[in-house]
Amino acid sequence: MAITDAPKIITGRLDHPDSHTLDRYLATGGYEGLRKALTMTPEAVAHEVDTASLLGRGGAGFPAGRKWSMLRKNPVTYLVVNGDESEPATFKDHLLIERDPHQLIEGVMIAAYALQVSQVFIYLRGEFALGLERTQAALNDAYSHGAVGNDIFGSGFSVDVVVHPGAGAYICGEETALLESLEGKRGFPRIKPPFFPAAIGLYGEPTVVNNVETMSNLPWIVLNGGAAFAALGEGRSTGTRLFALAGHVNNPGVFEIEMVKTTFHDLVYAPVLGGGIPHGRELKAFIPGGVSAPWFGPDQIDIPLGQDEVADAGSMLGSGSVVVMDDHTCAVRASWRITKFFARESCGQCTPCREGSGWLEKIMERIETGHGREEDLDLLLDACDNISPGLAWPPQQTTICVLGPSIPSSIGSAIQMFRDEFLVHIKEGGCPFD
C-alpha cells in the first residue's frame, strides 16, 4: 500500500497562515457549498450526505446520514456541534477549530439547513482559548457576510449559531453529558435508552449532535457530491480522515489520509507522514484510536486505516489518534498514566467506574513504583471485569456510559502483551526503565 493522492478535503486551506480569516476563506471557495445547498431541497442535501456515507468522526463512527434520517421524520429542534475534543492524544478538531473556523461554520449551516433547525450550539472545549476567539470572530464575520442569521444569502432560511465554551471535563465529549453541560449542569451522561439525543436531547427536545470534523466535511460533500466522497476509501470507510499521530515519531502531527488505502506502517514510517521512530529505536506497541482503544503490537502495523479493518483486529479507530511507543517505553507506566486519567475524569455516577478506576490506578501505581505483588495482575483483571464483564471487545458495560468500559483497554493490553515486564517490576521492586 502507499499514500494516495486523494484530495485534501478539509485541510486544503491550512497551508495559508491566514486560513482562519473570512478573506482567505472566500478567496478559496468559501461558502460556495452553503450557497449551493440553499438552492437544493433540504432532503436533497441530506441525501448527498447519505450517499457520501460519512461516518461520524467523533469516535463512535456512526453514519452521519443515518443520524440525521432518524430525525427527518420528525422535526428536529436543535443541532449541537461537539467540539469538546479531550480524548488523550487526539488533536485534530483543535486544528480545524483554530485554523479553519469558517469551514466548520459553513458545514454547520449546511447541516442546519438539511435538518431545518433554527438554533445551533457549537460546544467548544474550554481549554481552547484561541479556538474560542477564532471561532467567535469567524462567526461574527459570517453574520456580517450574511452566511448566518436572518435570511441567509437571501434564501429566506434563518439560523442562529451560538459558540458555547466548556470548562474542563473529558466526559463532556460524551454527547448526553455534553447536553447536560450545555444545560448548565454537571456533565453527567444520561442513560440510553431513553435519552438518545435524537429522541430526548437538549431541554428534552430532539437534537442532533455531530463532531467538528464531521461538520467540516460537509462543504466539500455538497460542492462535489456525495458520490465523489464515497469513491474515496473503501467499504464502510469512505472519504479521507484526519489522523493525529503522537508519541515516539520524528514528525508528529495531524494528517489527512484516504481511508483504508493507507496502513499504520505508512502513517508511522512514511517520510511525508510520521517519518519513523527517533534515535533508530524499534516499535514496541501503538494505540490505534485514542486511549480507550486496545493496543496493537509490531505484528499489526500493516493493518489498513479503516474502521472495520481495525475493529476486525480487535481494537478501534475511535477518535483517529495514534500513539507510538518505542522499545524504551515502560508499558506499565504508560498504562498507569492512562488509568490515572480515567480515574480523574470518571464523573462518579456509576459505582463500578468511580470506585474501580481509583482501585485500578492505585494498583498500577504500586506496581510501577516497586510495591506490587504477583497476585496484583489477577486483581487488576478482576477489577476490570467488574467494570466490563468478560473483558470482551467491543466491551460490555455495567455503567451508564462507555468511559468505565474503556478503562480495561490499556490495562488488559499491557498485561497481555507485556506480562513479563509487570513481573520484573514486582520481582525487582522497581521500574526497570528508570
Binding site: 492524544a89 478538531d93 462567526l139 436572518n150
Partner: protein, 237 residues
C-alpha cells in the same frame, strides 16, 4: 381532571418577583460589576433556558475576579433564577472553574500519555522544584498556580504546557524557566491575559432569526412534506 376556577394571581414578595423575571432580573448584584452584568445578560439572551448560560457566566466572573468567589456565585444564581448551591454544584464539576483562589497565571503541564513519552514527568518535577510548589499549589507571591493537566490536545508539541489556557508550545526545563520569568515580568501580558480571561472576542450580534416566523414556516414545511409523502404513497399504490 375536574374543572377548576382560573388561578388567581398570588401576591409575591418583591424580591421573588424580581428573581422570576428570567434573566432580565433587576435584582441588585453586589459582586459583579455593571459591565460584567451587562455582558452576562447579553449571554443569557442567547439561550432558550437561562441556566444554559451558567458556564459562560462562570467564565465571565472568573475574568473579573480571577476565581469564583462565593459572592459572584450568589450573583450568578440571581441572574439565572437558580440557587447559589446549584451554581456551586455545577462549578465544582469542572477543572477550569476555581472555587478557591488561584494565581494570576495558571500553568498547566500535561503529563498524559503522548507527553509522558516525551519527558512530561521530568518537566513537571522541574517545575515543582523551581517554583517551590507541588502540582495544585500557588507560589507565595500569588503569581503562579501549577497544575498537572490531562491531555490538552496539542500532542505534536510535547511536553505540552498552557498558561491560562493559552498554548505556549513544547517546553524544555530551560524554556520553562524563561517562560516563568516572562510571566513574572509581564513580558507576555499581551498574548497571555490574567487567569479568567478566556475569550477576548465579544459576540457582535444577538439572535436574529424570528422565532415565531420560524415556527410557522417549519409547520408549513412539515405539512408540505407529509403531503408529498402521501402523494408518493398514492402514486405508488
Amino acid at each position: 381532571m375536574t374543572d377548576t376556577a382560573p388561578p388567581q394571581p398570588q401576591p409575591q414578595p418583591a424580591a421573588v418577583t424580581a428573581r422570576r423575571s428570567n434573566g432580565a432580573s433587576t435584582a441588585t448584584l453586589a459582586h459583579l460589576s455593571r459591565a460584567t452584568a451587562t455582558r452576562a445578560r447579553n449571554l443569557i439572551a442567547l439561550y432558550p433556558e437561562p441556566r444554559s448560560a451558567l458556564i459562560p457566566l462562570c467564565h465571565l466572573a472568573q475574568e473579573q475576579e480571577g476565581w469564583l468567589t462565593p459572592g459572584v456565585m450568589v450573583d450568578i444564581a440571581a441572574l439565572l433564577d437558580i440557587t447559589p448551591a446549584e451554581v456551586f454544584g455545577t462549578a465544582t464539576f469542572y477543572d477550569m472553574l476555581h472555587t478557591e483562589p488561584v494565581g494570576t497565571h495558571v500553568v498547566s503541564v500535561c503529563t498524559n500519555v503522548a507527553c509522558l513519552l516525551n519527558g512530561a514527568l521530568e518537566l513537571l518535577e522541574h517545575a515543582e522544584s523551581t517554583l517551590g510548589v507541588n502540582a495544585g499549589g500557588t507560589t507565595a507571591d500569588g503569581v503562579i498556580t501549577l497544575e498537572e493537566a490531562e491531555c490538552l490536545a496539542d500532542c505534536d508539541a510535547t511536553p505540552c504546557v498552557q498558561v491560562n489556557h493559552r498554548y505556549v508550545g513544547a517546553q524544555t526545563p530551560e524554556s520553562f524557566d524563561a517562560l516563568m520569568a516572562d510571566l513574572r515580568s509581564g513580558a507576555r501580558s499581551a498574548d497571555i491575559p490574567s487567569h479568567g480571561t478566556l475569550n477576548r472576542v465579544e459576540r457582535t450580534t444577538g439572535l436574529q432569526a424570528d422565532r415565531g416566523q420560524i415556527a410557522t414556516e417549519r409547520a408549513a414545511m412539515a405539512d408540505a412534506q407529509s403531503e408529498r409523502a402521501a402523494a408518493a404513497k398514492q402514486a405508488g399504490s
